[in-house]
């Protein structure tokens, strides 16, 4: 009986631990979401038709790393949207912590930078939390079944686009387009933390 209880409490502890960490891992089916785009319309991931997958990028207006990558995010969309992999950009920063990441700021920023992709506002931060996004930029590459195929950085050099040796996201999308397994499924990078609501 004691052993059974011990085993049971272990299971419960494990479940509790996995519930506090709801992050999506590679191989899991990512949650669908319904968020407001900068054009005022609501976008549901599963409503995007005729796609082979999604390059979901958690980003924002203010982080120096997000800024360093914004041209490259635009280039990703321009290259891969016609091939069925559009960029779906999401800003999850709390506007109380970062006023320049408010919905209105997103609108003017998207206009100024001529974002060719949807730029969605995750006001409740639920999507970032469900995905387990921690930083900006933080990429989740999903296939058309919404299975996570890659998580991490866009490439191996945030400071200097011209010095990039390995384009992680491009390599991953190319692999999916070729019907192959993604070779490098997860990478890490230094980044700004997502600005969580202060409780």
């Amino acid at each position: 009986m004691k052993q059974l209880l011990a085993a049971l409490s272990l299971v419960i502890a494990f479940m509790a631990a996995s519930f506090t960490l709801p992050a999506h891992r590679v191989g899991e089916v990512a949650s669908d979401f319904h968020l407001k785009n900068v054009d005022g319309k609501m976008v549901r991931l599963s409503d995007l038709k005729e796609v082979k997958g999604y390059i979901v990028v958690f980003t924002c207006n203010t982080c120096p790393f997000a800024k360093a990558y914004e041209e490259r995010i635009i280039a990703l969309h321009q290259k891969y949207a016609p091939l069925g992999y559009p960029v779906v950009a999401i800003n999850s920063n709390d506007k109380m912590v970062k006023p320049d990441d408010s919905y209105e700021s997103m609108q003017s920023y998207a206009k100024e930078k001529k974002f060719p992709f949807v730029y969605l506002y995750d006001e409740t931060q639920e999507v970032a939390q469900t995905y387990g996004a921690l930083k900006t930029p933080h990429v989740y590459l999903l296939d058309n079944q919404r299975v996570v195929r890659y998580i991490g950085a866009i490439d191996d050099n945030s400071e200097d686009a011209s010095a990039v040796k390995e384009k992680y996201v491009e390599n991953a999308v190319d692999a999916l387009l070729a019907g192959k397994e993604v070779a490098l499924k997860e990478t890490k990078a230094i980044g700004c933390g997502i600005k969580w609501k202060r409780s």
């Binding site: 120096p64 360093a68 921690l134 930083k135 991490g152 950085a153 191996d156 050099n157 945030s158 400071e159 200097d160 010095a163 040796k165 390995e166 990478t187 890490k188 990078a189 230094i190 980044g191 700004c192 933390g193």
Partner: protein, 173 residues
Amino acid sequence: MAPVIFQFRKSLFSRRLQISFALLLLSHLAIAQDIPFIKAAQIEQWKNANTDTIYVINFWATWCGPCVAELPEFEKLQQQYAGQKVKVILVSTDFKKQVETRVKPFVLEKNLHSQVVFMDESNPNNWINLVNPDWSGLIPATLVIAPQKKFEHFYEGELTYEKLETLVQSALK
């Protein structure tokens, strides 16, 4: 000729004045500390060092608000433990092109006394796991090591002075 000599004297005088003024400034201000560049291998060297010194290694950047906010705690720690074998190392993860233009002026302005070094690696994916496999890459992050005891504690996020001190105390034990 006279005006020329006069000018010469004046300039010599003003130069002297400049020098003594500069010396006066130097004696009152912090001298800009040199910021050594380190490579990923340095992390392993710290971890395997044959020393009873405790390393408190903080990863930060000038653009990171929470990092800048907690820097005084590390400065305080370095001061409080000056007589003990505790060494605070502040590893800047700023952009390389900003070391001269941002990091150095920042270190001078904030009058940082702890050792500041720059992580000279373009690809963080190559060294983040060397610090700790659980680290997402988010900063601030802090690694406390007592190399000889093989004590290692990694913390992702902001630290209060109390928490930082508790970590150092357990490393000192």
